[in-house]
């Protein structure tokens, strides 16, 4: 029995090992893939467009020629795979899974405690998923993959250290990793050597407790510390120090930029950090105590609880803001010219939209020619962006897109370039630099950007994320914009207020193509500036061929009532709309203050221009 027992145990152990590891692995993979490919799918796509990776000799030179180049470039290459969410998502999850396994290997964590190895993976997942709007302003080249790959390499090196048996190999390790590791992996590589050294010292000291003369000390040690405990502690310390430093850095950055506490979920960052720290203290203690007891079931239970709590925290603190994700979906639909999808998303919205969503909805209505009939039917709103510094997000997310589609090519190019200077050579900016150059007829410049985009993994202009027929798509897009270029150039400035500038530049413009006059008419209505209404209305009248769009009929009736200026009776106004307007006039005369009227009249008149004109206020469009 005594001879056969180890063999039997070994075989059983192998099967049990699989049984214990697999549930954690499968649970993590399922959770992470759900989060990344489910609600955060548009976030992944956007992250890829904001990741500057180019497969060229400059990048090759940076691999080993610049500090942390290897880590950043490989991480950027991986992160740009988010352009294909399945590919990028699976890669990211694979790296996170590898971290858990390498950690287990490096610190010789028993299978019963395998659950705690996933803490790092959850934290690194959260490190990426919590960013939200911040993804636009972080200048980090690969915010998802760089820390993940950095930790993976650091853990692997620590594991290697533990397995080095010859002292001079260890010495070489200690000497070389701070230099080579720091150069290739940044501080992830630099920290390996000191931690390995500390581990060695720690283990040596703990070994002293096993001396027969130290019975008292040994008895002190045994209840709390197992054989691998020092390594475990150092490993966790490495991880949490690693996690803490960049997180604190981010926090400092937020604070520095006047991020307001109590305003955004980012301020939960300190709270997030509390949980790992508590776990960092508790888990090794549990580990030591339960390991000595040998109650594997309990250990696994605790391990599982830690795993579940970490998973729940990751989900809870991930940035799943509906408006943010909806804006991203709308933006991607606009880049694919899928205007109907945008309108459907606007209709399906369950909460007050942000101005970015309203702007994209208006653009979709303009592109589909339904602006005059439906603009005031869609939800209006000015919900705050779930982030501080409200004024910048619309410009950062969709500024160049809006300017480009409305024919303000100078500003589309300007902001794409300004952001490229500020945040790096991201494909998201190059796309508009390229499109504007082509629209401007700057063929050589367009070709330069095209060649740059061709060096990306997924944004090649001919077979791109924006569809296999990109060139055709781009040409069609440009043709739709060309009528809006019929205006005289002038020197101007927008102060970064994209919507304000667009509305007022069209509302104050005169003449131009039919599309421009219609935008002038509509933007005059939106800004409630009715001075140029009749000239524009009458100029467009023949083009409507008998059917005046509903909102223009509504506006004509209202302007005639308020200002006169045109014989409304001569216009082909729908009698139903006239009657509707009469009911509004009568209802208004019967009622009291404006606020009460707004509530009472909304069910019947909420979709009309009249309601917008009289009751919708505070949208900062004026």
């Amino acid at each position: 029995m005594n001879v056969r027992l180890p063999v039997k145990l070994k075989k059983r152990s192998s099967i049990e090992t699989m049984k214990q590891r697999l549930p954690f692995t499968l649970a993590f993979v399922a959770f992470a893939l759900y989060l990344l490919l489910g609600p955060l799918r548009p976030y992944l796509v956007e992250t890829a467009a904001l990741t500057p990776f180019y497969a060229d000799e400059f990048t090759l030179g940076k691999l080993f020629g610049t500090h942390c180049g290897l880590l950043f470039q490989v991480a950027a290459a991986f992160q740009s795979c988010f352009a294909r969410p399945w590919l990028g998502g699976c890669l990211f999850v694979a790296v996170l899974v590898a971290i858990a396994y390498v950690q287990r290997w490096a610190f010789r964590v028993s299978d019963s405690w395998f659950g705690i190895c996933w803490l790092s993976s959850f934290a690194l997942l959260l490190n990426f998923t919590q960013l939200g709007y911040l993804i636009y302003t972080l200048k980090h080249p690969a915010v998802a993959f760089a820390p993940a790959l950095g930790f993976l390499a650091a853990f692997a090196l620590i594991g290697l250290w533990f397995r080095l048996k010859v002292w001079w190999w260890k010495l070489a390790f200690l000497l070389l990793t701070p230099i080579i590791g720091f150069w290739l992996l940044g501080f992830f590589g630099a920290l390996v050597a000191p931690f390995a050294g500390f581990c060695e010292i720690g283990i040596a000291r703990f070994k002293q407790f096993d001396e027969p003369s130290s019975v008292g000390k040994r008895s002190l040690r045994r209840p709390f510390l197992g054989k691998e405990t020092p390594r475990m502690l150092w490993g966790l310390a490495l991880f949490f120090l690693g996690l803490l430093l960049p997180s604190l850095l981010q926090l400092a950055l937020h604070r520095h930029l006047d991020w307001q506490a109590g305003h955004i979920p980012f301020d939960s960052l300190p709270r997030e950090m509390r949980l790992p720290w508590i776990l960092a203290v508790c888990v090794p203690l549990f580990y030591a105590v339960f390991r000595l007891d040998g109650k594997r079931r309990w250990m696994t239970a605790v391990s599982a609880i830690v795993f579940i709590v970490a998973g729940a925290a990751s989900y809870h603190y991930s940035f799943l803001d509906n408006n943010f994700l909806c804006t991203l979906r709308m933006k991607h639909a606009a880049e694919d010219s899928k205007w109907e999808q945008i309108l459907q998303m606007a209709k399906d919205g369950q909460q007050e939209p942000t101005r970015a969503q309203v702007c994209l909805t208006r653009l979709a209505l303009f592109k589909t020619g339904r602006m005059g009939d439906e603009l005031f039917v869609y939800p209006e709103g000015a919900a705050e962006y779930n982030a501080p510094q409200q004024n910048q997000w619309l410009r950062l997310m969709i500024g160049p897109l809006l300017y480009y589609h409305y024919g303000k090519t100078g500003f589309a190019y300007r902001w794409a370039m300004e952001d490229l200077v500020e945040y790096g050579e991201r494909p998201a900016y190059l796309r508009y630099l390229h499109s504007v150059a082509r629209l401007n007829g700057e063929e050589a410049l367009a070709q330069r950007y095209e060649r740059t985009l061709a060096r990306t993994l997924f944004y090649k202009p001919t077979a791109s994320l924006w569809g296999p027929g990109y060139c055709t798509h781009e040409a069609a897009e440009a043709e739709a914009i060309r009528p809006l270029l019929n205006y005289t150039d002038q020197l101007d400035g927008d102060n970064g207020l994209v919507e304000f500038y667009l509305l007022h530049s069209f509302a104050l413009s005169e003449g131009g193509s039919r599309e421009m006059v219609e935008l002038s008419l509509m933007d005059g209505l939106i800004t409630k500036d009715l001075t140029g209404f009749w000239p524009r209305f009458l100029a467009l009248l023949p083009t409507w061929q008998g059917h005046i769009p509903t909102h223009y009929q509504e506006a004509a009736l209202m302007v005639a009532q308020l200002q006169g200026g045109a014989p409304v009776s001569d216009l082909p106004i729908d009698p139903a709309i006239s009657q509707h307007f009469q009911r509004l006039v009568e209802a208004s005369s019967r009622m009291g203050d404006n606020a009460a009227n707004a509530t009472i009249l909304r069910p019947e008149f909420g979709n009309t221009y009249w309601y917008y004109y009289f009751f919708v206020e505070g949208l900062k469009t004026k």
Binding site: Y54, D56, E57, F58, L253, H256, L257, K408, T409, G410, F411, Y413, R414, M417, E418, L420, V421, E422, E425, A437, N440, G441, E442, A444, L445, Q447, R448, R451, T452, L485, Y487, T488, D489, Q490, L491, D492, G493, S505
Partner: protein, 562 residues
């Protein structure tokens, strides 16, 4: 022993085989083609300095499957390179150029398409006798507007591809405190290791480099518009003339020129490096003076100025609306080296009468020529597609261009003189001398080499947006030759880099100050310069009236490079 010999023999054979196998050869049978070789960058026909780095290029593949390039001279030297990326061995290149001084260098390209070799029409370079200054300095900047990150002042050796960063702006920049760096200007081509550059915003000031030491000064005084902007070192005295500008940037809504950089006010000052004092030269409310440049003897200061009569109370709005009406002429003032006083202003080139606007005047080292940029309006010509380089003969006798130029048909009308002007014969533009320099896009900032035989200039001819450096030979007859683009290690280096070269200058030796020295100087407090009155000989007799300084807060301002 025998086996050892066998192994060595085998190794020698293998090496010989490898060497012979790798050496490309020119095809013996081929057909003559008529289409010019599709290469980028195309520097053929350029005149090269004998000490320039290899002019590598790429052959655009098209339908061809193989390519062989043969570079050779009449003296018998040759380099043969196989493949699309034609990168010459540096030693072989220099040897060949040295052999070919004063003669032509021929380039034959053979392409193999559908099994047949074709010999494209032979191309050539001309190799001058005159060497070029071995270094240049420039700033690398994205062609952006308001934001600036990762600006670097670089130094490049022209004899090879070595490039180093003299100073980069991210050293002290953070998300709140940006740092702009610009105008690295050497004194006398850095022959005495002196130069200067500006730091704006965070830790701002003007950094004066002397050997391996550096100091930072603050040139803004209560009596001057701003700190120094566009510098001009005096060739012999420890003086620097600067323009002081209140510059703003406004954006085109549609025009592909994209941006207009406007001076809302500008004057000239003279800074004494030794006494740390500033004197005003020209400070008039009605004239905008800028871009000073000394003559080689230091006896004349050239600069540009535009007369501005406000049409409205809001000066900024008025200039924004009428930016294309602001035209700059080139003026000069004599400078007495003993008294350090300037004489009266005189008109040197009346661009306005041509409906044009001149900028960045630079005098050749022999004092014979004035090289400047001429465009339709304004002074920040890098953003003006109409900007071309022009050469003005400062020689009172007709230009020595003689037979090779045709000033009568192409030159502008003679310049008029101001009331305070000199009685010297009228200069005229020798346009034929500069025509090889220009393209349909903007040519802008330019510099003479220390010998005056080479001109380094900025051009956006490649794509209209990203500025690249070109070098042209300027012969003894006053004629600029077909230029070549700054050589790069790989043919697509310029294509990969989404940055512009900016404000390039020749250097005869490298900058000695290390980035660490410069950082220390920048971190230290700037020594404030004091105002020492007017530098004019007769300030009271000056026809211009003193400017009423506007509080800076009331103006838009921006730090820009040129």
């Amino acid at each position: 022993m025998k086996s050892c010999t066998d192994i060595l023999s085998l190794l020698a054979l293998s090496l010989a085989f490898a060497l012979t196998g790798c050496t490309p050869s020119v095809p013996t049978t081929f057909e003559e083609a008529t289409t010019p070789p599709p290469v980028t960058p195309n520097n053929f026909d350029a005149t090269l300095p004998p000490n320039i780095a290899p002019l590598n290029f790429r052959i655009l593949q098209g339908d061809a499957s193989e390519a062989v390039t043969r570079l050779h001279s009449k003296q018998g030297g040759e380099i043969i390179v196989a493949g699309w990326d034609v990168c010459f061995d540096e030693d072989e290149w220099h040897h060949l150029l040295d052999q070919t001084r004063g003669d032509s260098l021929y380039c034959d390209i053979y392409l193999k398409a559908y099994g047949t070799w074709e010999h494209l029409p032979p191309q050539r370079f001309y190799v001058a006798e005159d060497e070029i200054d071995p270094y240049i300095t420039y700033r690398l900047i994205r062609p952006s507007y308001v934001t600036y990150e990762e600006l670097t002042i670089n130094e490049r050796c022209l004899e090879n591809f070595d490039e180093r960063v003299v100073y980069e702006n991210m050293r002290f920049a953070d998300s709140q405190q940006g740092q702009c760096i610009n105008c690295h200007m050497p004194r006398a081509w850095n022959s005495d290791a002196q130069s200067q550059f500006h730091v704006r915003q965070n830790l701002g000031g003007t950094v004066l480099i002397n050997g391996n030491s550096a100091t930072k000064v603050n040139l803004k005084t209560d009596s001057t518009l701003s700190a120094g902007v566009y510098p001009a070192w005096h060739p012999t005295l420890p003086l620097i003339a600067y323009s002081v500008n209140e510059t703003g940037q406004v954006f085109h809504t549609l025009d592909p020129q994209k941006i207009e950089v406007i001076d809302y006010a500008s004057d000239l000052i003279l800074y004494d490096v030794q006494t740390n004092t500033v004197q005003s030269i020209d400070r008039t409310a009605s004239d905008f003076e800028s871009f000073p440049a000394w003559s080689p003897d230091g006896g004349t200061l050239y600069y540009i100025a535009a007369h501005y009569t406000p049409r409205a109370d809001n000066l900024d709005a008025d200039l924004d609306a009428n930016y294309d009406q602001l035209r700059y002429n080139i003026y000069a003032r004599d400078f007495d080296l003993t008294t350090r006083r300037f004489g009266a202003r005189r008109l040197v080139f009346d661009a306005e009468s041509l409906g044009k606007s001149a900028s960045v005047p630079r005098v050749s080292p022999d004092g014979q020529y004035l090289l400047f940029t001429l465009a339709d309006y304004g002074q920040f010509h890098i953003w003006h597609k109409s900007a071309d380089l022009q050469i003005l003969s400062l020689n009172p006798t007709p230009s020595p261009v003689g037979e090779k130029s045709n000033p009568s048909t192409d030159s502008p009308t003679p310049s008029k003189e101001t009331s305070a002007g000199s009685q010297s014969p009228l200069p005229h533009v020798t346009r034929t001398g500069s025509e090889a320099l220009n393209s349909t896009s903007s040519e802008s900032y330019h510099a003479w080499s220390s010998t005056g035989r080479w001109i380094l200039f900025s051009s956006r001819r490649d794509d209209g947006n990203y500025t690249r450096l070109y070098i042209s030979y300027f012969d003894r007859d006053g004629r600029a030759h077909h230029p070549f683009r700054l050589p790069q290690r790989t043919a697509d280096a310029d294509d990969l880099m989404l940055r512009s070269y900016n404000a390039a200058e020749f250097l005869v030796q490298p900058v000695q100050a290390t980035p660490h020295t410069l950082s220390r100087a920048i971190k230290a407090d700037a020594r404030p310069a004091s105002y020492a009155g007017s530098a004019l000989l007769h300030p009271e007799a000056d026809t211009t009236r003193a400017r009423q300084l506007t509080p800076p807060a009331e103006r838009r301002s921006a730090s820009v490079g040129y």
